[in-house]
Amino acid sequence: MNPKRTMTLNLTEQEMRVLDEISAQKDLSKTAVLRQALRLYQLIDVRLSRGEKLFFEDEQKKEKAELMVV
């Protein structure tokens, strides 16, 4: 296991509530939720920077929307 470093994170009430909800829903600790988010953010960012696109598709409505990430 790689050694870990600790940081303090300041969140608004609303952000903390969302983090609590995701944590309970997904059966993850808050740290695990944030680590998952970081992994996903980097993955999406790298693939977009390679020129790939990210879409959400609604099969029933036959709708496809590109997600723009800044």
Binding site: M1, K26, D27, L28, Q36, Q42, L43
Partner: protein, 209 residues
Amino acid sequence: MTERIEITDFVTGEAVEAELFDDVAVEHFLEAQEEWRPVVVEARWKLSATGEQHLIPRHAHWDWTNKEEDLKLLAFTFYGLRCGGKLQGLMKLQTVGHRCRLPEQIGKPLVYVDYIETAPWNIKLLMRALGREPQYAPIGSVLIRAAVRKSIEEGLKGRLGLHSLPTSEQFYLHACGMESVDKDPAKQNLLWCEFTPEGAERFTTGGTL
């Protein structure tokens, strides 16, 4: 991370020391291509000649060097297993972006085994085609245990999923004790297999396979 473990030498029946490591580099991919692929191709010819095409592993065309870009990303973790100076197995895990499909844990994140491959000289089926004895075991079980441990380290409690090639279904379902969900039309109709935290614990505490 490099961990010293023991695997079994099929020929002598004795335990031998091996190294499980996660600092996989492109050189390991090149080694797999150069050392493994010719043996797989030779076995394919033999199986074709004896009319046993259905036994040819579907991973025969894999090229690990395609995965070089993913070495830099947090979303992926690679493991290798080395013994006797040679690479004996490789595995690529995706630690984000896949969700559980078993009803009791549906929607929860899991670690996905994207690719796992054992060196061809450790695969009984291929060695039988070549008239040789397999060399080392249990490579697949050691790698799946490492995947479960990664899932626990990531806070995913041992939850693990993969699409199994037809020739590996028995291994994942019976040797590992994973649960099957269904064939996935989005992934060449391969069988989706999954560990719950309880199933993963049973596997990792169940002794060597």
